[in-house]
């Protein structure tokens, strides 16, 4: 039941720079649990303090938004790919003025 979780560039620094990690998981929740257990730093980026997925993080199983499947209970099977896609806003980001891993430009 190997499921591949793709990690977007903004979050890779919190996952040892990895682009993808594989887990044995029967659902999205199981895969994300294992992901955040392995990379504790990722947890606060993906989940609110109440434990729900942040509204600017979308999760897709084989290209389909889990909001239109069974949310985090969406089942996964061997060979599935889970994509984590955060909202990014960059367009002409001035290097070193970005304070936020998702591309918001803040002059500092």
């Amino acid at each position: 039941m190997s499921v591949k979780v793709m990690i977007p560039t903004p979050l890779r620094p919190h996952a040892d720079g990895k682009a993808a990690v594989e887990f044995q998981a029967k659902s999205v929740a199981e895969a994300l649990d294992q992901l955040t257990a392995q990379y504790a730093d990722l947890k606060k980026h993906l989940f609110t303090e109440e434990g729900s997925l942040r509204s600017f993080i979308n999760v897709y199983v084989n290209g389909e938004d889990i909001r239109y499947l069974a949310q985090e209970n969406t089942p996964t099977k061997d060979g599935d790919t889970i994509k984590i896609i955060p909202s990014i806003a960059g367009g002409s980001v001035t290097p070193t003025t970005t304070e936020n891993p998702f591309g918001e430009v803040l002059q500092n």
Binding site: K44, S92, V93, T94, T98, F102
Partner: protein, 395 residues
């Protein structure tokens, strides 16, 4: 099957003919059956508004002007600076200091004098957006911040205009088309912006210069396809580009039936205050308590020259240290909690970063950890360069 084209685009009618010069200029389009004379006249009749003339706006402007889009509008309030030249290829070194919208207009007019180009040297706001957008057929979002992206989206939906969307971050790009009939909008994809400053780190900024070139070029291609009414556009699909892996992939984008803007029971009927919309969710990075003790660059210089024993703590990232440094002890802000033992609380410490923001957090952290003699270098390396040593590079 081709996606149904937007009514405003479908209404594009060739009103003019091409001159012999134009026929020569566009000959590589004209000899393609997918464009041909009919397509080229559609391009000539089209009016496209570019929001932002920066990294994404550069290839957009160049390719759309070259392709013969009849009217291009360029919205930007910013001024060209040296750090733009690494990726904003519309501008030359001699443009530094000029208004971007005007510098871009001059460059694009030189590229194609046969088209009409209008520069709007203004920030797009809820007040001016309806007036600015109304005369254009397609809006292309090449902005760089969440408030403007939500503003562009909302204005496009309320006015019924397609919005060719592209965004980038470091090595990653996202491209789609919002605002098509029955298609999703940006709020369907992301109902809310992220709270900025979730993990503040100047070091996580930056973008590889080629990336906006690629993403902006894809936006230009989608814009042209919309005008020609050819092929399958990105409506309902979010195209993802990972430059490090050199991989394209896509995910399905659905129109959210409960979308507050384009859903059946929409609650948003006019443009709102987008800074507030993003701000209430913490648009300003959680500014650390700026009341930490500070030392100015000049004061620091005097004290160093006097021979005071000061421990300089640099809380930037190693790659920033390589650009320039004050020969301080390097502990990146993120590593400070577990490396705090490297510091001697009996010694007087001056913490610094690039601009003084991260080091203020470091000082705050150290004070809470019991350090009493710790100061923040006000304005960081940037201020040091301005006030003490102009040979210190700024970045």
């Amino acid at each position: 099957m081709a996606t149904p084209i937007h009514t405003s685009i479908a209404a594009l009618k060739a009103r003019e003919k091409l001159s012999n010069e134009e026929i020569l200029r566009y000959s590589r389009h004209l000899i393609m059956p997918e464009v041909g004379m009919e397509g080229q006249l559609k391009l000539k009749a089209a009016k496209v508004l570019l929001i932002g003339t920066g990294g994404l706006g550069a290839p957009l402007g160049l390719y759309l002007a070259a392709a013969g889009i009849g009217k291009l509008g360029l919205v930007d309030f910013d001024v060209v600076d040296f750090t733009n030249l690494q990726r904003q290829v519309t501008f030359g070194t001699s443009d530094v200091g000029k208004a971007k919208s005007e510098a871009a207009r001059a460059r694009l007019s030189n590229l194609n004098p046969d088209i009409e180009i209008e520069a709007f040297e203004t920030k797009l706001t809820s007040e001016n957006a309806p007036e600015l957008l109304k005369d254009f057929d397609i809006i292309v979002d090449g902005t760089d911040n969440f408030p403007t992206r939500y503003l562009v989206n909302d204005a496009c939906i309320l006015l019924g205009k397609p919005n060719v969307y592209g965004s980038i971050f470091r090595f990653e790009g996202q491209i789609t088309v919002f605002g098509m009939p029955d298609g999703p909008c940006y709020r369907c994809l992301y109902p809310e912006p992220p709270p900025p400053g979730l993990v503040p780190s100047c070091a996580e900024g930056g973008v590889l210069g080629v990336l906006p070139g690629i993403v902006g070029s894809i936006q230009a291609m989608e814009t042209i396809k919309l005008i020609l009414g050819r092929g399958r556009n990105l409506t309902g699909r979010l195209l993802l580009f990972d430059a490090l892996e050199m991989a394209f992939s896509e995910v399905k984008l659905r129109k959210n039936p409960n979308c507050p803007l384009c859903g059946e029971n929409r609650t948003i009927h006019k443009l709102i205050d987008y800074n507030e919309f993003c701000g209430v969710r913490g648009e300003e990075a959680p500014t650390p308590d700026l009341k930490v003790p500070e030392i100015t660059p000049r004061q620091l210089k005097v004290r160093l020259e006097r021979g005071d024993r000061l421990f300089i703590l640099d809380v930037r990232e190693p790659h920033e240290y390589q650009i320039c440094n004050l020969r301080g002890h390097l502990i990146p802000l993120g590593e400070l909690p577990r490396r705090v033992h490297e510091l001697d609380s009996s010694q007087e410490i001056v913490a610094h970063c690039r601009s003084g923001k991260r080091s203020a957090e470091a000082v705050e952290f150290l004070r809470k950890a019991g350090f009493r003699k710790v100061h923040n270098l006000k304005g960081g390396i940037l201020a040091w360069s301005d006030e003490v040593d102009s040979s210190m590079p700024k970045y």
